[in-house]
């Protein structure tokens, strides 16, 4: 049914566009009600991220990790698993990179090597973290939702332990690592902004993941195993292996994302709560319809909205709690998968009916 697929596609696009538009309108309405100066607030929220180089840099600084965790969640999502370990991988990637950077990276090490080492450490950390719920799920059948959420929480404390005992700046009045050495940092693409050269690394990762996902036998195996396990098994695909490797890869990407974020944005490791970027990755993946090639667009949209909300918070009279509610509206609309679903189904049904009638008519003509 070619037409049905076309309707599906049109509605898919329509769903995203309408959902974002509704979220946006609701947000604007909301702002108009709670702000003393709604026009200024709406301007700041919608145009704000593009008004100064710094704000745009902030947008890009959010865009970069969203792409990494988005890709990561795309892979997991394609496996048809609800493994939320991207958050833990992201956190531990950043944490272990910081521990290694402040202890073992000498100032004389060339930056390329230091950054490369950082990426490897981040990826390894993420991989090991994601191995736990993945292997428990694929080998023992333990629900990956439960283990991943639980381990995310546990890894927060592991990260705090590592920082406190192996990297803490003892002179500071809060838990943080010593300063990350300059040679292990990603330089700014635009000076005096947070827009850092991690963008190039991420671009390479996006292309690699697209390549693996669409062009390799492994990618095909993952997609098939994710969409229909029985079919995959009948075809002779080793499901368990494919799914494990895909989820480990996802963890590694997420962990690398954490390391890149620390390298590019922060002067020292200061996460005392889970940063939430990993869970936002799920949002990106849902928005991108588990298609890695669409991840940059989805990540950019989310980064744009989040940056707008952050600027709204610190540049206007709207309090933080309201800004968080605004973000909630956005997420609600983005996450609503069945939005416009009934209309879509009715249209497909009508199409089928029409086709049937045409066939009948044709049959009638033929018999006559």
């Amino acid at each position: 049914m070619k037409e049905a697929r076309r309707v599906e596609f049109i509605f898919e696009m329509l769903r995203i566009v309408v959902a974002l538009a509704v979220a946006y309108l609701l947000t604007l309405l909301f702002i108009a009600f709670i702000s003393k100066d709604p026009i200024e607030a709406i301007y700041v929220f919608s145009i704000g991220p593009f008004t100064t180089a710094r704000r745009f840099g902030q947008l890009m600084a959010k865009f970069i990790p969203y792409m990494m965790t988005g890709l990561s969640m795309c892979l997991i999502y394609a496996c048809n698993r609800f493994n939320l370990i991207a958050e833990g991988s992201y956190l531990m990637g950043g944490c272990l990179f910081s521990v290694v950077a402040v202890n073992f990276i000498p100032e004389t090490m060339p930056p390329v090597l230091a950054v490369g080492l950082g990426l490897v450490v981040g990826a390894l950390a993420g991989l090991i973290v994601s191995a736990i719920p993945t292997i428990l799920r694929e080998k023992l059948g333990v629900s990956e939702i439960v283990t991943s959420v639980m381990f995310n929480y546990g890894f927060l404390y592991v990260s705090l332990f590592l920082i406190k005992f192996f990297a803490r700046d003892i002179s500071m009045s809060y838990v943080c690592s010593r300063l990350i050495p300059e040679n292990a940092k990603l330089g700014a693409v635009v000076p005096r902004t947070l827009f850092h050269s991690g963008i190039y690394i991420v671009a390479v990762v996006v292309m690699l993941v697209c390549l693996i996902y669409f062009k390799t036998p492994f990618g095909y195996r993952v997609r098939i195993s994710g969409s229909n396990q029985d079919f995959a098994r009948t075809e002779g695909i080793r499901i368990t292996g494919s799914l494990i490797v895909a989820q480990l890869l996802a963890g590694a990407i997420s962990g690398m994302g954490g390391a890149i974020d620390i390298m590019g944005v922060y002067d020292r490791y200061i996460w005392d709560q889970t940063p939430g970027v990993g869970t936002d990755g799920l949002l990106v993946a849902v928005l991108a319809r588990k298609n890695p090639a669409l991840v940059p667009i989805a990540a950019f949209l989310l980064a744009y909205m989040r940056t707008g909300a952050a600027i709204l918070n610190y540049a206007t009279d709207i309090p933080l709690e309201m800004v968080q509610m605004v973000q909630g509206i956005i997420i609600l609309m983005i996450g609503a998968e069945e939005f416009l679903g009934p209309i879509k189904n009715r249209m497909i049904f009508r199409l089928a009916q029409k086709k049937d009638r045409q066939k009948e008519a044709l049959a009638d003509v033929n018999t006559k």
């Binding site: 100064t52 005992f165 963008i199 697209c210 944005v265 939430g276």
Partner: protein, 364 residues
């Protein structure tokens, strides 16, 4: 597929190339009267609220317009928020806490904004005291206040058991170091307990319950936000009559609670180890106005400078016997003169060293 890859590259390059030059906005303005206050979230009955009160008071006194900027939990946006406030040209004074990297950002950017004055509070005692020209830093000897609280707790405990619930971060550990050394100083036989507080008030209540169950008489709640759990538990267990008392931190919690609807619960609050954020910020602004503030320096303030103390209020006078009151007055004097030195978390050069000191002090 190829198209997709090309599209991705084009998309990325588009944004990589999109760099707008930053334009410094410095038109001639008469006088900027804004005073910004940076914090994570307001409404914690402690640290953040206390600083905000100080900013509001000094703004009212000297004719500034106070503006609180709540940063929330997204640490990636903090740097930008600070620079944006500097760029906005609305503020001539920026008051900020040191935590969450904000102190680093002030050190990094302050010299670019010589017209703005920065006051950074709650710095680490052992931090590099040299700051940029237009920055003034405050570090608190919270351990002194907690030392006194510990001594008072030990004197008030019938079972010779006192406890502290606090977060496992430098601030919380500093409270504990002071509190435990104070209790041991007042009564070497006193048993001390230290629990790391968990993530919400209900869990704190549970932990306090287990402390009181063991016969602990006084529990210091080392977090303004979660202290209510501890106070509730002490109140449910009969309060002072049954030997279940509690202490607050940062602000005078007795006073705070009597201002709210939970007046009954306030009766269990023996005293509070206060960190006078509001007073020190007001004092700093006063000194800034008369030109006596040492710019470019960090000052370490304790009891002697009025930056930390135990709350002495009517309720304290009612609960505490005369001889203990006299003992406390004497001890406050000794600590402020430096004759008695409390143990501080910052004395130790690693987390391990602190734990090695702590372990033998703890009961059971």
């Amino acid at each position: 597929m190829k198209k997709l890859v090309i599209a991705v590259i084009a998309f990325l390059l588009l944004f990589a190339g999109c760099s707008k030059p930053s334009e410094p906005t410095e038109p001639d303005k008469p006088e900027v009267k804004g005073m910004a206050y940076f914090c994570r979230t307001l409404g914690d009955f402690g640290f953040n609220d206390n600083g905000w009160a100080g900013v509001q008071n000094s703004a009212a006194k000297h004719g500034y317009e106070p503006q609180a900027i709540e940063l929330g939990n997204d640490t990636a946006t903090f740097e930008n928020a600070l620079v944006e406030a500097c760029d906005s040209g609305k503020y001539s004074v920026i008051v900020t806490q040191n935590g969450s990297g904000l102190g680093d950002y002030v050190r990094k950017y302050a010299k670019d904004y010589p017209e703005i004055k920065f006051i950074v509070f709650d710095m680490g005692i052992t931090e590099d005291p040299n700051l940029p020209e237009n920055v003034y830093g405050i570090a608190y000897k919270a351990s002194e206040a907690c030392f006194l609280a510990g001594a008072l707790a030990a004197k008030m405990s019938a079972n010779k058991k006192v406890g502290i619930l606090s977060n496992d971060n430098p601030g919380g550990n500093d409270f504990a170091a002071g509190y435990i050394s104070g209790a041991k100083y007042a009564d070497p036989d006193c048993q001390t307990y230290y629990y790391y507080g968990m993530a919400d008030a209900a869990a704190w209540q549970e932990q306090a319950s287990s402390l009181y169950q063991m016969g602990v008489n006084v529990v210091l709640a080392g977090s303004g936000r979660f202290a209510l759990g501890v106070f509730n538990e002490a109140f449910n267990r009969g309060g002072a009559e049954n030997g279940c008392l509690a202490m607050g931190i940062d602000t005078d919690m007795y006073y705070t609670l009597t201002q709210s609807e939970t007046v009954d619960i306030a009766t269990v609050v023996l005293s509070s180890a206060t960190k006078e954020l509001a007073y020190t910020i007001e004092n700093a602004v006063d000194r800034m106005k008369d030109g006596s503030l040492p710019w470019g320096k960090m000052e370490v303030l304790g009891i002697a400078q009025g930056a930390a103390n135990v709350a002495i209020n009517d309720h304290y006078k009612e609960l505490v016997p005369e001889d203990v009151q006299a003992y406390m007055t004497d001890l406050i004097d000794k600590v402020s003169k430096g004759e008695v030195k409390p143990v501080s978390f910052y004395d130790f050069d690693s987390q391990e060293a602190f734990l090695n000191w702590l372990k033998p002090q703890l009961g059971e």
